[in-house]
């Protein structure tokens, strides 16, 4: 069963075709990769799915309903959470608050309860905080709860960002270049983390990535983009041998020289 179904998706910035006629289907429970050279339009696709950019043409269906035209916060409330290419934490807030903010839609109390400090506020706030703390423990960040998010080392910031996205209780997780700027050791533990959360939270994951090692290592299905269009799809093995993909990444003639 497909969880996310994108058809004929296009985005024009003036006369520039950032994405044109893009199709993608993500099945429930799968781990799909979206790759392509710089400027291919991968992040633009993410921004359209999450409602940050309005789309120029096409349809996006999630969990059986159209999500075109929804505000970004509504898309998240429907069950799509994301991380960003350049980490976007709430930098001066504590690690715990970063996760607690993600629980906002599920807090279960409102302004009136907060101002009057009703018993509903007290119990729900406690529940929410304990849930956030347990959640941090899953990501091995429980000892960092009172630290500023911006003071964490890079790898842990990435982990916190993923934890925060998952705290919003999504069905589909979009990861935008999670391995960007990481050293080989960090990349290795990131790949383990992605495997782990997928099993634990029963997630469907769509991931943009530059590092071939990551994509080939964990994705089951890959879509390749170049100049805003899909140029290939298939399993990692098929993609590796596809001449169009090699051309897009290494340039025309690379294949011939490689063989000759």
């Amino acid at each position: 069963m497909s969880l996310l179904k994108i058809e004929h998706l296009s985005k024009f910035f003036g006369g520039l075709k950032a994405v044109s006629n893009f199709d993608l289907t993500v099945d429930q429970g799968s781990l799909v990769g979206l790759i392509g050279p710089n400027g291919a339009g991968k992040t633009t696709v993410f921004n359209m799915v999450t409602g940050i950019y309005p789309i120029s043409d096409g349809t996006i269906e999630f969990d059986g309903g159209s999500i075109v035209g929804l505000e970004p916060y509504q898309v998240t409330q429907q069950g799509i959470a994301r991380t960003f290419q350049n980490i976007r934490l709430f930098p001066t807030l504590s690690v715990l608050d970063n996760v607690r903010i993600a629980y906002h839609s599920h807090a279960g109390y409102g302004m009136k309860d907060a101002v009057l400090r009703t018993s509903s506020f007290e119990t729900k706030e406690r529940e929410l905080t304990e849930k956030a703390q347990d959640f941090l423990a899953v990501f091995n960040l429980q000892d960092r709860q009172d630290e500023r998010a911006s003071s964490l080392p890079y790898g842990e910031q990435r982990r916190l960002e993923i934890a925060r996205a998952l705290a919003a209780e999504p069905k589909l997780l979009l990861l935008d270049e999670p391995a960007a700027g990481m050293n080989p050791n960090e990349v290795k533990s990131l790949m383990e983390l992605i495997h782990f959360i997928r099993g634990r939270f029963d997630l469907t994951i769509l991931l943009i990535e530059h590092q071939m090692r990551v994509v080939m290592g964990i994705c089951e299905w890959i879509t390749v983009m170049d100049f805003g269009e899909v140029i290939a799809r298939g399993t990692p093995k098929e993609i590796q041998g596809n001449p169009k993909v090699i051309e897009a990444y290494l340039g025309r003639g690379a294949l011939a020289t490689g063989k000759g």
């Binding site: 930098p91 309860d113 782990f196």
Partner: protein
């Protein structure tokens, strides 16, 4: 514990005032500081916590002041009902009208800020700052040129006289404490965290499922409610309103207080307001006679020094006493981790 401290402060100051240990002038300055603290708290909620650059709070202060003055000017004398309490007489009727009037002023400010803020807050950023600056100027021009609005004489640029002086230490203090308690309760809840997330990173906040326009508007409306409330207290403190008070240049005082005390610190705003009032008035007393105007030289120099030595403000990122964020101890319970 908190309420005991509040009651103690109230009683001590009240005793000092009623035994006339300090002059009337000082009493007025202390009450005025409470008023300024309430406007500044509102601004801090909008700018310090939610990150929206509002130059409009002074306009909402003016609206609250004129609206409540109109009501008490017209109705307070008709409802006069003095009651002898033995040690003092209290006019219950007038005070009831007064309370209603400042609430009406505050609610009016809140409604106008909602209608005004909804389209403007969507633009966000610098546009919001310019639009709110324009708002403050429009309110000032209206006040200058309105001889009569609704039912009472505003007398435009001649100044409105005849407002009953009903603001007392009791009311100034009660409203400041209420403003503080409400603000703390909002900030340390999921509502407050949603507001702060807008300041921290609006795009990330949206991606976390937070309706950012809604929380920006909410902060703006609460902040403007505070401004309107403070305006009402101000009108009945000096019993005189003049449009020049609401000139946008004067609105920088609340900015100075918020930045000086520490952006995003409730404690800082309150302490900075009293420090600011004490500094301005204290210099008037301590500078040798004939050189009082030099306080406007000394005061900016002191501000400059604080900003150089403590750029985050006196209490940047810090809270004291009951304003501290609630502490959550780490969970001892073993949670099942991997596998």
């Amino acid at each position: 514990m908190f309420w005991v401290a509040v009651a103690a402060i109230f009683v001590v100051v009240q005793l000092i005032f009623s035994h006339e240990l300090v002059t009337d002038y000082i009493q007025t300055v202390v009450q005025f500081a409470c008023v300024m603290a309430i406007v500044s708290l509102g601004l801090n909620l909008i700018y310090g916590f939610t990150g929206q650059f509002s130059l409009g709070q002074w306009g909402f202060y003016a609206i609250g002041a004129y609206a409540s003055a109109e009501i008490t000017y017209t109705f307070a004398s008709r409802f006069s009902m003095p009651v002898d309490l033995g040690f003092t007489t209290l006019d219950l009727g007038q005070n009831a009208v007064f309370l209603v009037s400042i609430l009406v002023g505050a609610i009016l400010s809140a409604i106008i800020s909602f209608v005004f803020g909804l389209p403007v807050l969507k633009m966000g950023g610098d546009y919001f700052g310019i639009a709110t600056l324009g708002f403050t100027m429009v309110v000032k021009v209206l006040a200058d040129n309105s001889d009569k609005l609704f039912f009472a004489e505003m007398k435009g640029s001649r100044g409105m006289v005849g407002i009953p002086p009903l603001t007392t230490w009791l009311w100034a203090f009660v409203f400041l404490v209420l403003a503080l308690v409400v603000m703390r309760n909002v900030i340390y809840s999921t509502v407050g965290r949603a507001m702060v997330s807008v300041r921290e990173d609006e795009i990330a906040a949206k991606a976390m499922g937070i309706d950012t326009v809604r929380y920006k508007t909410l902060a703006f409306v609460i902040g403007s409610f505070y401004a309107g409330l403070a305006g009402g207290l101000y009108a009945h403190l000096y019993a005189f309103l003049h449009p020049s008070t609401f000139n946008f240049l004067k609105s920088f005082d609340i900015w100075i207080i918020v930045v000086f005390g520490g952006v995003g610190s409730i404690t800082g705003t309150v302490i900075a307001t009293f420090g600011w009032a004490a500094l301005l008035e204290g210099l008037r007393i301590f500078l040798p006679s004939g050189t009082e105007t030099w306080r406007f030289v000394v005061y900016p120099i002191l501000l400059l020094l604080v900003m150089l030595l403590r750029p985050q403000g006196l209490f940047g990122g810090m809270e004291l006493g009951f304003l501290k964020p609630p502490k959550w101890p780490r969970r001892q319970k073993d949670v099942p981790t991997e596998n």
